[in-house]
Assembly symmetry: C2
Homo-oligomer: 772 residues x 2
């Protein structure tokens, strides 16, 4: 089996679009500020994310270095093979490789103290980052380093300076967030044929994660040394051969391992000081890593691998053909690029992978993926991928989710999983809306009964985050479970998506049960304050109540009452009614956006960023809020708010992302919003129309059809929708149906300077709500 979906030949026209799109991507966007993206080499949804890791001062603090690289740093510690794109938590950074010219140093050293360790200074002037390619000069060594990747293999090309011994360091001690005991066990082995293999098991964000690798050099190393730098070893056992001489060790095991391989002048044929290194990873075994290396990278052709990666990216990015000013294209295609970073392939070339039980499984009839940042990505990323990626890819995601549930010790779908393992990060059972959304859109290449069973099981697993109480009381009681208001709200939405899918499958009993649960948001609504709040088991709301409060022990998850009180995507009409009518809801939304908020109030909450009033675009609970005006008959207010957000939250600069990209959710929001519509309610098959931000954009759909959005007259002075025509007929509602997009055609907006307060306003057809 191979990474499905990349092998299709693209037609020439698309290729041209793709190349142009490829050229527009700037992988540095998001690498500064709060974006937490990385600039390194990866293919779409690839298992390898080969990228430089940097250091400025201490790396103790994990949050800011969640992607390994920070644009403001001036030193590179090496190139590691796994990275998250845009997370708030830190892990990965496996198999750090660093080329060295001169004396071997085994410790990373301190930034700002050249020569204190193996790290090297670098300059952005020497950097190149393109999709699937990264290059930099390591100034302390005068080494030019280039990186590229295939799905399971990272390829390095190093050009060493003349006159100094060349070395390559492999450090198994480091990761994105280091602390004593994180590496539970590790191994480095030099095999007789010159292949280096190893593994490490870490206790990080996911517990007991095993990662294996296999590495080959284009020239045989003349020597090597293996070190265990840990001093505190309780029982070391009998020394293996070569223990006294690190150059004689064929293998080393321990918790703090580093190896160095020597390549003197004589090793380089014809005076070329060029060395290629290729590294495959595997979740299964060292032998499987070797098999991945053999299967994907039998030869030594860096430029071909780079060209292959470029071709994959060009094809993927050709899903949307954008006609817009250069800066907008740069933002758009970089966002689109970031939406193809996850879920990530997680399967060896023979179809084996590791599941949430930490056991090895065989994928049968599908390609297995992991890294599901579901609390983020169910909102817009997965809906976007149903439009811009082949159905096969989306089916593979769903088959991966179902398999994970079947292998789960808890019998539930993933919550936040990576490398097959569950982290239990964030809240909800948001694999549920991902599956339901795909199912409702006709993506059905999986066992729908097994899927529904998994969804119901996940929504019914009592020990998880207050679900037992939620099923009993209709809400999560805050005296028994933290962040109860957020949980009640998100469970209710997820439940609604189960009802939708069950209904479509003719499973009426399931549909009825979960339709009922979908109304549980009402138990969180406090008519007295107009906020969503957490109740106690006795039914009373918890007092005292401070709608500004957030953080540990609060009613909410990464937010406060101002941010969470609008989370009823399945029933915005019901929410408006609860507030006493659409106007009242709009007034409340205005309170959110127009509040004067001291950002210091969120200093303790690193995830809450990108503030516009209380609206926090840097975190997901706000992502649908600007679109709610359209439900209340005032789509022009949505248009206005989107203008505010797009102007302030996404810049084509390294620090241009207002918050963590969260495996593409921030970027997916941008892509949808730039196109002019957004999936506020996954599984509704509706996209709420905001306003277009691109003069012309064509979705080259996976079914071969094309859906074009034209924004006639669009410029900064003409940001409002005047007339909307779908395939030449007036469109008077503020949403699109999924079928309308998939049928292909043209959505034509006439933009104007002033809001059209009539279009899709009072009395018009509103987006779906349960209460209608």
């Amino acid at each position: 089996m191979s990474l499905a979906g990349n092998a299709h030949a693209a037609p020439v026209a698309v290729q041209a679009t793709g190349d142009s799109a490829y050229a527009a991507v700037d992988p540095f966007i998001g690498t500064g500020g709060e974006g937490h993206t990385f600039p390194g080499a990866v293919v779409p949804f690839g298992m390898i994310q080969l990228s430089p890791d940097t250091q400025i001062k201490s790396r103790k603090e994990g949050y800011d270095w969640a992607a390994g690289y920070r644009y403001e740093d001036t030193t590179i510690t090496g190139f590691s093979h796994t990275h998250f794109s845009g997370t708030g938590h830190s892990d990965l950074g496996d198999v750090l490789v660093m080329p060295i010219a001169g004396e071997v140093r085994l410790e990373r050293g301190e930034a700002g103290k050249p020569g204190s360790g193996y790290m090297s200074r670098f300059s952005h002037d020497d950097e190149v980052a393109q999709p699937g390619y990264y290059a930099v000069t390591l100034q302390d060594y005068g080494i030019r380093a280039e990186l590229t990747a295939s799905a399971r293999v990272g390829v390095h090309r190093y050009r060493f300076p003349q006159g100094k011994p060349a070395h390559v360091l492999v450090d198994l001690r480091t990761s994105m967030y280091d602390y004593p005991g994180k590496v539970q066990w590790s191994r480095l082995r030099l095999r007789e044929d010159g292949t280096v293999t190893g593994f490490r098991e870490t206790r990080g964000w996911a517990p007991g994660r095993q990662l294996y690798f296999a590495m080959r050099f284009s020239h045989a190393p003349q020597g090597h040394q293996f070190h265990d730098t840990e001093q505190d070893v309780a029982y070391k056992g009998f020394p293996p051969p070569g223990e006294k001489d690190p150059r004689q060790r064929a293998q080393i095991e321990g918790r703090q391992l580093v190896g160095a391989f020597d390549f003197a002048d004589a090793d380089f044929a014809g005076g070329q000081r060029e060395l290629l290194v290729k590294v495959a990873i595997s979740p299964v075994s060292e032998d499987s890593a070797i098999a991945n290396l053999d299967a994907e990278m039998p030869d030594w052709d860096f430029d071909r691998v780079r060209a292959d990666a470029k071709a994959q990216w060009s094809q993927a990015l050709a899903a949307v053909d954008v006609d817009a000013p250069a800066d907008d294209r740069r933002r758009f295609y970089t966002a689109l690029y970031h939406t193809f970073m996850g879920p990530s392939l997680f399967m060896d070339s023979d179809g084996r992978y590791r599941g949430p039980d930490n056991a090895v499984h065989q994928a049968k009839g599908y390609t297995n993926y992991s890294t599901f940042s579901l609390w983020d990505t169910y909102r817009a990323l997965h809906p976007l991928l149903t439009l811009v990626q082949p159905a096969q890819r989306n089916n593979d995601f769903i088959n991966s989710l179902i398999a994970s549930r079947q292998q789960s010790p808890y019998g539930v779908l993933p919550v936040w999983s990576f490398h097959g393992l569950e982290t239990w990060c964030m809240i909800g059972y948001h694999a549920v809306p991902v599956i339901a959304d795909a199912y409702m859109k006709g993506i059905r290449g999986y066992d729908a009964d097994a899927a529904l069973e998994a969804m119901v099981a996940s929504a019914s697993y009592g020990p998880y985050d207050g679900i037992a109480q939620y099923m009993q009381l209709g809400y999560v009681p805050i005296d028994e479970e933290g962040e109860a208001a957020s949980k009640t709200l998100e469970y209710a939405f997820d439940d609604w998506t189960i009802a939708r899918m069950a209904q479509a499958m003719g499973r009426d009993e399931v549909a009825a049960a979960f339709e009922k649960r979908a109304g549980n948001w009402k138990h969180a609504f406090d008519p007295g304050t107009g906020f969503m709040r957490a109740r106690l088991r006795d039914g009373a709301f918890r007092e005292p109540f401070d709608p500004d409060a957030s953080g540990y022990g609060s009613d909410y998850t990464e937010g406060n009452a101002w941010q969470y009180s609008w989370y009823v995507p399945q029933d915005v009409a019901g929410l408006a009614a609860a507030h006493g009518g659409e106007d009242k809801l709009i007034a409340r939304l205005d309170q959110v956006f127009d509040a004067k908020v001291d950002p210091a109030v969120f200093e303790h909450m690193e995830d809450i960023t990108g503030l516009i009033g209380w609206y926090a675009h840097g975190n997901e609970p706000s992502h649908h809020v600007a679109y709610l005006y359209a439900y209340a008959g005032q789509p022009w207010r949505t248009q206005e708010r989107l203008g505010q957000i797009m102007a302030s939250q996404y810049a084509a600069r390294p620090d241009g992302l207002a918050g963590n990209d969260d495996l593409g959710q921030m970027s997916a929001w941008y892509v949808f919003t730039a196109l002019g519509f957004y999936p506020v309610t996954p599984a509704s098959n509706q996209y709420v129309i905001g306003r277009p931000f691109l003069p012309r954009a064509t979705l080259n759909l996976p079914n071969g059809k094309h859906f074009t959005v034209v924004a006639e007259g669009l410029d900064d002075a003409h940001p409002y929708i005047g007339k909307a025509m779908l395939n030449g007929k007036p469109l008077t509602r503020a949403y699109l149906r999924h079928e309308e997009i998939m049928a292909g055609g043209e959505l034509h907006f006439s933009m104007q300077a002033q809001p059209d307060r009539q279009w899709a306003s009072d009395g018009g057809e509103r987006p779906y709500s349960m209460s209608r």
Copy 2:
């Protein structure tokens, strides 16, 4: 595949012998003193060793509790599933299970403080130990506990008292030698069908050892609780479901895990307070452990499992039919029992196992074994097993060794390995003589070319223990490698066995090279002092020299010059010549046995025990020494010394073994010596005749023939051999040929009061020596 060799139906006559032999075994012999054996339930060469672990004071010290159980202890902490039989180093003790009546306690507690933890007092009066069966009453709880085992499954039967809640504890924190950080990671999981699975990875004698298990109860537990008792957790991650309530946890991961399962009255059908627990282990995965459980133990019949174990033991013990006084039979059959404790089966029911690369492999066409205590067992245990076990078993051992070499990161045969992993314990490459001995005896069910290649590779791996220097200099230089004299001597012997096998294979070049190396013992011999000593690289012997000295930094391995200077089994004639003749050698041997030695000189050397002068029967370097008189033409002196040793070193008491049984080597010495001959030089196909200690013994050979040794007139007053007749013809040499034994027949000794100084003496045919 299954455990080969146990399934053959035994003829009725053998069965009778076997049952009588079974009844003669006392598994308590060796559980006190220095024997380090365990009394629990195991089948011959079984993967499971299910046995009680005891505690007297602190368990910090590993040596004395290497087998988990000490006869002098008064408390039992539980029943764990893996044990070494007779080692000096400590590990295993996996998956400790303890039944409890009453309140659940999670900590082991302190011996002598009843109620301080879950441990319980016990009395030897309540104990029963038979091959494959163990029973005891846990006094603090009033629980009767019985244990039995199949190859891969341990079965517990607990009878709980009325009126108290019944519980079963599973403790993954404990092992034979505990220290912080030993458990690197572990997992406990309760599956929906009531199966409990888990694993742990330990950093013990072997590094990074993974052991998986699956456990089922005959009655469904009514409840459970899973705890992680570790306080110091650097990054705990997000809490899995049920984290707040140990009774709701479906799974727990961590480094200090303990689980308790509740069985209230209602769980026991018909008022029976009887609970069965069956536990399978696997080196591969939890699923494989379940598969082992399903394959071997589909039902719930403790008595059948016990009967099967008895049948296996009866068949194995029927290999020798002994006619002797009860006490001698007890010693003999217990010794024979202990020779079937290792190597141990190490392979799942599907043929998968873990190799020295810690990767999973598939055994093809053979049954895989591990736990090779080769420094000990190449001497007499493996030679014994070629006589008393089917060729298939010996072939499986050799195939396991070859496979291990092929999977070794170092490309060498096992040194001291268990559970597939290499410990590098002790010295030499003694898998080599095991293979050569079997090959020379016609046991050839493996790829002999691969075997010889593995042997040569192991003898040529430079980084290991001074082999590079040994190959360069002809000896191991003490200034570059510790214990150099012992290493030079043992390498030279191992080399000789390679030469033997290569010669038999027609590989003349290999034979010549290793025949030359076999003479390297001469480089260790110091004519000045008459001792084997270590040289420096410059060729000089290291000074100062103290023949009494042993321990860290010495020339020797677990011994001193008095013990190691006779280790030239391949060339005793050469050794005698070096000393200036046979008489001189004999005088030196007498110095060894007759010295007045203060045992305090070995207080720092826990392995050197069983002293007769300098002769230390408790450790292996002495094991051949008493037989050397026979090479020097004075077999009656061997007879005399053996009488001394047998009378003082083996008693039919718990503390009856003078030293660690070392996976059966101590016991194999006893079996051979009691029969009347001993394999001083494995691969020579000769057994040096000592003297018989049994009136009549018949070897029921694996080829179906029978070889009987009769000692006519034997009693304490008639310990010397007078006349020896082999198949009715006078035998005038002090050795037997392997072929003579395997042909069947009768060796008839006429015993007498005084030594016969003529028999096999000067001028007679001597056992093999290179120099003859």
